[in-house]
């Protein structure tokens, strides 16, 4: 390179060299970070406001008392118990069914069959149906059965089970898919039947993934109110649920009920119950992630 050329090089700036100084990319990056800041900022504000508003009501009374006409005497006990009842029933109904359906779709169904592809598409669709529609479905079903009072534990559990069934199926299928084919081949090569292979090798190996997905699905069901409202779930329940046919209320429904009351005290109660609900959900999600991280096999 001659001195002339290098001199010219030095004088003429290369195109784009000033690009890093242009404001465009910097502003862009700032905007991007801003979007995250805004989103998390709103979340933080939400948490702070409900904690602050709920503070005065975060006493043992929240856990032990029943709803009352005065906010100073009210508690969320039936809502807590009701949530436990409904979610437990939902789990019993959905989990075996969802796992069985997923096992069939993933291990036994002929993947090229149009019918099975229809089922797959169907499951995807069901996962995106608004939750309130599941309430309508349960409502119609129970009406068809002639059930008068539909705000019973089994009714709510039915609606929620159908709601999260697609989610459980999808999560289980992914967990099954993650188990390497070599395991199945080794089992079959020893003279095991496909069912034995699934039951003794594939399914046990997929358990951490299935557990994670199921817990996440159940935590979603825990936070749902719309389908239960359609079934007529009551917001003023002053007894403990005592059976599948018993009346009930759940934490989200109770929050909804108290939010709609004019007195500030009830708003505080709603806030406190919200905090409780969030804590429970956080715990459930943490357990799910813990299971995934600790027990997930690295193949």
């Amino acid at each position: 390179m001659t001195t002339l050329q290098s001199a010219i090089r030095g004088i003429r700036p290369l195109t784009g060299r000033g690009g890093e100084r242009r404001p465009g990319p910097v502003v862009f990056l700032v905007l991007l970070w801003l979007s995250l800041v805004v989103a998390f900022g709103v979340l933080a504000t939400l948490i702070v406001t409900i904690v602050l508003e709920g503070m005065p009501q975060f006493t043992t009374r929240l856990f032990t008392e029943y709803p009352a006409s005065s906010p100073d005497e009210a508690g969320a006990r039936p809502a807590i118990l009701g949530s436990i009842w409904v979610i437990a029933t939902t789990a019993v109904m959905t989990v075996p069914l969802g796992i069985a359906a997923a096992v069939h779709l993933e291990e036994f169904a002929d993947q090229r069959n149009w019918f099975n592809r229809l089922i797959e598409l169907n499951v995807q669709n069901l996962a995106a149906v608004p939750s309130i529609v599941y309430g309508l479905l349960a409502l119609a079903f129970l009406s068809m059965l002639g059930v008068r009072d539909k705000s019973i534990v089994i009714g709510g559990a039915l609606a929620l089970s159908l709601l999260i069934l697609p989610v459980v199926i999808i999560a289980t299928r992914e967990a099954l898919r993650a188990v390497p084919a070599e395991i199945r081949q080794a089992s079959l090569a020893l003279g095991a039947t496909p069912l034995q292979t699934t039951w003794r090798q594939t399914l046990p190996a997929a358990v951490p993934g299935i557990a994670t997905g199921t817990i996440l699905a159940l935590s979603r069901a825990l936070g749902e109110a719309a389908p239960l409202l359609v079934l007529g779930a009551l917001v003023f329940v002053s007894f403990d649920p005592n059976g599948l046919l018993s009346g009930y209320t759940t934490l989200p429904i109770q929050i909804f009920g108290w939010t709609g009351r004019p007195q500030a005290g009830f708003h505080e109660l709603a806030a406190a119950t919200s905090v409780l609900l969030l804590v429970v959900l956080l715990a459930m999600n943490a357990v799910a992630i813990l299971i995934r991280n600790r027990f997930q096999k690295r193949w």
Binding site: L32, S35, A101, A140, P252, S274
Partner: protein
């Protein structure tokens, strides 16, 4: 092809044969009835999903047919007065639809910029470590129960921000408050699918752009974004679906008055809000009141079905492209 075998033929088992070192019992299998039964049970379980869909369709259709026997479809779809419980009942669903439209548009106006911003950040700028931390955090937004969002929308956004701080002319409820909060709730949906779509764009494209002297912003906006467009559209479409179907936030914060919404500071009742509120009362099965629920439910279901179908088709297209 050479074949060096001497056939020791002979049908049947080893009997007519010089002694084999091991006996050759039959290869006919054991009867395994338990297996067959189990497989049938599994197939039935999978079939429940079909039953569910058929059930939804039937559950919505049957009462709707009863409804449309009494109320002409055109009155329903194009009427602008929704007063199903009044003595002079009117069943024009437009008020509900406008409220749903407003809340959906407002929520998208919030969710799309925030969601895309987060997606671009995660996909194009963030290191793997940062992504591992931020993605789960973003999912938390999706994990907050919608009741709690509704409470926040009513108590803080509406009462404090809109009325106190901004002194806007609005009442106790507004579609704006509901829409804004709904938008934040939908951010993870848009962010995660968009991020998937952008991550799927091959690195080669980015490298080609960088080699031409483009900076990261230009590469992102002019190369990655267009390449991931169908996935991003799918994400937005799914966001629309979630907004349309959302119930609790609007039931709590948007209000109960079913009037045609012309101003976001107004209150309004969405389709979902109507169903949630109407069912709180006691409706006799088979009555027009009861059927109305399902008619609106049918409309809701059809709209979301259409939207979801579009979204799923788009997602499949972008997943196949690479």
């Amino acid at each position: 092809m050479t074949s060096i075998t001497a056939r020791k033929g002979g049908p049947g088992l080893a009997s007519g044969h010089p002694a084999s070192p091991s006996p050759s019992p039959s290869l006919r299998g054991r009867r395994r009835p338990g297996e067959a039964l189990a497989k049938v049970a599994l197939r039935l379980a999978a079939g429940i999903t079909i039953v569910t869909t058929l059930g939804i369709v039937a559950a919505l259709l049957v009462p709707s047919l009863g409804f449309f026997a009494e109320v002409p479809v055109s009155d329903f779809l194009f009427g602008d007065r929704w007063a199903p419980r009044f003595a002079e009942a009117s069943f024009g669903v437009l008020p509900l639809v406008t409220a749903t439209l407003w809340t959906t548009v407002i929520s998208l106006a919030v969710a799309v910029p925030l969601g895309l911003g987060a997606a671009i950040l995660l996909s194009e700028y963030a290191s793997a470590r940062l992504r591992k931390v931020l993605k789960p955090l973003l999912e938390i937004l999706a994990g907050v129960p919608t009741v709690v969002y509704g409470f926040f929308a009513l108590q803080f956004v509406q009462a404090t921000v809109l009325r106190e701080w901004l002194q806007l002319p609005t009442g106790a409820f507004s579609v704006l408050a509901a829409g804004l909060v709904m938008g934040v709730m939908i951010v993870p949906t848009i962010a995660s699918i968009s991020e998937d779509a952008m991550s799927a764009v091959p690195q080669a494209l980015r490298q080609g752009s960088a080699a031409l002297g483009a900076n990261r912003m230009q590469t992102t906006l002019r190369v990655v974004f267009p390449a991931a467009l169908s996935g991003i559209i799918a994400a937005v479409v799914l966001g629309v679906s979630r907004a349309v179907g959302e119930t609790m936030i609007v039931a709590i914060a948007a209000g109960n008055q079913a009037v045609v919404v012309t101003d976001p500071l107004q209150q309004g009742q969405t389709m979902t809000g109507f169903i949630a509120n109407a069912a709180l009362g006691d409706s006799r099965v088979g009555s027009l009141e009861y059927d109305t629920l399902f008619a609106v439910g049918l409309l809701l279901f059809c709209i979301t079905l259409l939207i979801n179908a579009i979204s799923i088709a788009l997602v499949r297209r972008f997943r196949e492209a690479y």
